[in-house]
């Protein structure tokens, strides 16, 4: 059984606690216009052109669990007590069944497995994954039903239901929420308040908020696509949001990408 991935990034410091290896799985159930990993939206291999090196390439390759394990285990000495593997993408849960056998093998080596997920996945997959994942980094983007559908291509009811399942079954100490503040898409006061009200109920152990950015521009160009422009939110507004969350006794941090 093989999994389609685009990259295995070692020494990842922002994808969970400790030093981690992040596996980027290809394919997503959403199509966020500001996606920082546009090469991970499609489930299929894609050609790209690298302008800097004047060369062509392919995003996506298939890898067996054995090969994945061999790569992940290289940094075992650096995972220590809190590091490990983070599955990201794309939406890693969309290939969960492929990767599931690997997870128990990693646990046998005392390597923790975290996942970055949008939660726009079939609920039964999430419930199965819960038993095999040690930590969740969950995106929280747009709460309005129509906007969620039109902009992200997602069903907000599915997300909200999955969020409830997650917090019902998993200790909130193991759930972190990430909120991208994208100008003109997610940063409006109504959306921010909706997210705040949602998270007030669940109280994840940590919330990270960050501004939109254009660091993925080269990737967009390589795919022949155009990156969204003017997505940045200023620091003043980020701090205002942070304060609002803190006033509601939520643990929130602004991260710089």
């Amino acid at each position: 059984m093989k999994t389609m991935v685009t990259n295995i990034q070692r020494f990842s410091l922002h994808d969970g606690p400790g030093i981690r290896t992040t596996v980027f799985l290809k394919g997503c159930s959403l199509h966020c216009p500001w996606c920082a990993n546009p090469e991970n939206i499609s489930f299929k291999k894609e050609s790209y052109y690298d302008n800097d090196n004047n060369s062509n390439g392919i995003y996506g390759y298939e890898i067996t669990n054995e090969e994945l394990y061999d790569e992940i285990i290289k940094d075992k000495d650096y995972y220590n007590n809190d590091g490990g593997v983070t599955l990201s993408g794309g939406e890693p849960l969309m290939q969960y069944n492929n990767i599931k056998p690997l997870l128990s093998r990693l646990h046998n080596e005392n390597i923790s497995v975290f996942i970055e997920t949008s939660l726009f996945v079939p609920t039964d997959i999430l419930i199965d994954a819960i038993d095999n994942i040690d930590g969740f980094i969950v995106d929280c983007k747009i709460i309005d039903k129509k906007k969620c559908n039109d902009i992200l291509g997602g069903n907000i009811s599915l997300y909200l239901n999955n969020l409830k399942e997650l917090f019902d079954r998993v200790d909130s100490n193991k759930i972190m929420i990430r909120i991208p503040l994208i100008r003109n898409f997610t940063d409006d006061k109504e959306n921010v308040n909706n997210i705040l009200n949602l998270l007030k109920t669940y109280r994840p152990y940590k919330i990270e908020i960050f501004s939109g950015h254009s660091m993925a521009e080269k990737k967009y160009i390589s795919l022949g696509k155009t990156i969204l422009s003017d997505v940045k939110v200023n620091d003043e507004y980020l701090n205002e949001i942070k304060k609002k969350f803190i006033d509601n006794n939520l643990n929130v941090e602004i991260i710089k990408i």
């Binding site: 020494f11 030093i19 090196n53 060369s55 290289k74």
Partner: protein, 675 residues
């Protein structure tokens, strides 16, 4: 140009060459033009040569009689070197690139030393002349101090009187004595002189001072600041190949007999002093092990992040066992290093650790040019046939080593108990250990060439090896191929099984060849994977199949522009240094200031784990490409920007353009990797 240089030097003789070298050191500096011209004229017209005599001790005595002494009134201690007095010598090569045992000399006055050499022998007679000279120099220093406006004249006079005939028992005296002998060493035709384990040398004096309330910690800090400023005083004159390469290395930390980490209050203080002074020199090497205290690791990282490029970290977990098995046994625990990073035994070894550089790509390219390339069918056959060429090349290297002769130096010999016991100058093998040390470049070029050949010729069959070599010989007149060679992601520095295996195979070949060699002292030659020569050697080296064009720089020590940090450290951990490959193996990488600032705790944890996992030595530049590019364009805006070069730090503005460009390139590559 090189031939012209050789002719000029031959005409001028070794003394003339020394004058030119001195002039050149200032010429290439960043100083004002008027200063440079004045200095160069002084070198040519005012330099005096102190002629050889029957006894070198007499010659040195003459030197000490003639030198001009200048006392810096703004400092606490007295330190003066007259670089315009040149010692005439038999050979052109003098000892250097080492650290002397200041501890050995600290509790011996000149009078005590004269007693030790009282038995009438030729050797002792020479030393006694030398000691007369040292006493004369100490007396002259007292006169100069009294004629100056320096503060604590009386205290300094007392210190020098104790150097002549007394026991030193304070930090002040110890520091002054170290400085005095250090100045003598530089004055006496020796270069790249290290400082040694300063925290260990001074701690007992400091503790006594504190106990008797003679001193406070802030006063000690002032002493150490003055000490460091004075050592830095002759920055240009002391510099070797590049400005900043002075060899003034302070070794801090270590491992105790019980396996704990050796450190004391002075370990921290010395590091703080250098951070506060913000000088590139002297520089620090910190010996680390699994028990390195977190606050000392934090202080080291703070120092590196300050932009000092030091400390370099030497991992006792890896190094001490290597030194033990080499035969240094109980002595290993006290190791220091030569000017850059090569392990060295102070007071016991005369080892000149950077005598030559192996250039691994030379025999490899020779193989490509001379061998029937159809016989090379896989990695294994390449390595087998390369061994033949490498062995022959190493034979030539060893022959060149045999032809090297160092001048005797009785002052240096004074620091070696074994020289006294054997009645032999250090140049005649009087030290306990007299090994040679060589460095190496282009291991990465060979490894990457082999990987590329395997990929393009053997696996993909896209180019025959003959075709690859032809394109290489034409300096890559084929852009597509060049791109392919450079875009290879499996390279030296990545913890790939093949890469590690190829590297270790060549390490073993080198080790097995060198193991058979004994120098004229019946001692060994050691080698290592780091070298100062990554640009110097590369300039005359033809293109290579790692995608390197004619004359382009080699990889810097153990590094890779494509490896993430854990990949690089894992790679370094898996290198088998064998018995002889411990002459410096520095993992060298870049970190952007923003990365380390945003990820400090995890980075610090990573360093701790890396020490445990086992790199040999490690150094890093915390710098971003934007600053370097701006500094290259507008040097006046960045007068104090310090960078790490090979085993030393220096001002970025003092570097030749090709070194600046290489640092910029490496910083950009690093930032592209997300660090």
């Amino acid at each position: 140009m090189n031939n012209l240089k050789k002719i000029i030097f031959k005409i001028l003789g070794s003394n003339g060459k020394k004058k030119l070298v001195l002039a050149y050191r200032t010429y290439r500096s960043n100083a004002k033009l008027s200063y440079k011209i004045k200095y160069i004229l002084k070198c040519i017209f005012s330099c005096k040569v102190i002629k050889m005599k029957d006894y070198q001790g007499l010659q040195l005595k003459k030197m000490y009689e003639k030198v001009n002494i200048r006392i810096d009134n703004n400092e606490i201690f007295a330190y003066s070197i007259d670089f315009f007095k040149i010692l005439e010598t038999k050979n052109s090569l003098s000892f250097g690139n080492l650290t002397v045992d200041y501890d050995y000399i600290l509790d011996k006055s000149i009078k005590d030393l004269k007693k030790e050499y009282s038995k009438k022998t030729e050797y002792n007679t020479n030393i006694l002349y030398l000691l007369d000279g040292i006493e004369l120099m100490a007396t002259r220093m007292i006169e100069a101090i009294n004629a100056s406006n320096i503060k604590n004249k009386k205290k300094l006079e007392e210190s020098f009187k104790k150097i002549i005939n007394g026991k030193i028992d304070t930090s002040f005296d110890a520091i002054q004595k170290i400085l005095f002998y250090n100045q003598l060493l530089w004055q006496s035709d020796l270069n790249l002189i290290g400082i040694g384990r300063l925290d260990k040398i001074l701690i007992n004096y400091y503790k006594k001072d504190l106990k008797s309330k003679r001193i406070t910690s802030s006063e000690m800090k002032k002493y150490l600041k003055s000490f460091c400023r004075l050592l830095h005083k002759y920055f240009y004159e002391k510099s070797g190949t590049l400005i900043g390469d002075t060899g003034q290395i302070i070794i801090l930390g270590g491992t105790t007999k019980e396996g704990k980490h050796y450190n004391n209050e002075l370990t921290y203080m010395i590091m703080e002093v250098l951070m506060e002074l913000c000088l590139p020199d002297p520089k620090i090497l910190l010996r680390v092990n699994d028990n390195l205290p977190k606050n000392l690791l934090d202080l080291s990282l703070k120092s590196i992040c300050h932009g000092l490029g030091s400390p370099l970290m030497a991992n006792d977990n890896v190094i001490i066992p290597k030194l033990n098995s080499f035969g240094w046994k109980d002595d290993s625990i006290d190791y220091v290093t030569s000017a850059c990073w090569e392990p060295f035994l102070v007071g016991k070894s005369s080892d000149q650790n950077n005598m030559l550089s192996i250039n691994y790509i030379i025999p490899f390219n020779e193989m490509l040019n001379n061998e029937n390339l159809q016989n090379l069918k896989d990695i294994s056959s390449i390595l087998n046939i390369y061994k033949k060429y490498l062995d022959k090349y190493l034979d030539e290297v060893l022959l060149r080593l045999d032809s090297i002769n160092f001048n005797n130096n009785c002052l240096l010999s004074l620091f070696y108990e074994n020289c006294k016991l054997e009645q032999k100058d250090i140049g005649e093998g009087g030290a306990k250990y007299n090994n040679y040390g060589i460095t190496s470049v282009a291991m990465s070029s060979v490894v990457n060439s082999i990987i590329n050949i395997d990929n393009l010729s053997f696996k993909k069959k896209k180019y025959s090896l003959i075709e690859l070599n032809e394109i290489r010989k034409n300096n890559f007149n084929n852009d597509d191929l060049l791109k392919e060679l450079k875009n290879n992601k499996i390279v030296y520095g990545i913890d790939d099984k093949n890469v590690i295996s190829i590297t270790n195979s060549i390490m073993k070949q080198t080790n097995d060849k060198l193991k058979k060699y004994h120098n004229k002292y019946n001692c060994s030659v050691k080698f290592g994977l780091s070298s100062p020569s990554y640009i110097i050697e590369s300039k005359a080296t033809a293109a290579s199949l790692d995608g390197r064009k004619n004359g382009e720089p080699f990889n810097v020590h153990i590094s890779s522009s494509k490896a993430g940090y854990t990949e690089l450290f894992n790679f370094a951990k898996n290198i088998n240094y064998n018995e002889l490959g411990f002459n410096g193996n520095v993992l060298d990488f870049m970190v952007s200031p923003s990365f380390i600032k945003s990820n400090y705790e995890k980075f610090s944890e990573f360093m701790k784990l890396a020490i445990h996992n086992g790199f040999f030595e490690m150094q890093m530049n915390v710098i971003d490409s934007k600053t370097l590019i701006e500094a290259k364009k507008n040097p006046n805006k960045f007068p104090n920007l310090i960078v790490r070069v090979w085993g030393f730090s220096t001002y970025f503005n003092e570097l030749p353009t090709e070194y600046k460009d290489l640092l910029i390139k490496r910083a950009i590559d690093n930032e592209n990797n997300g660090y």
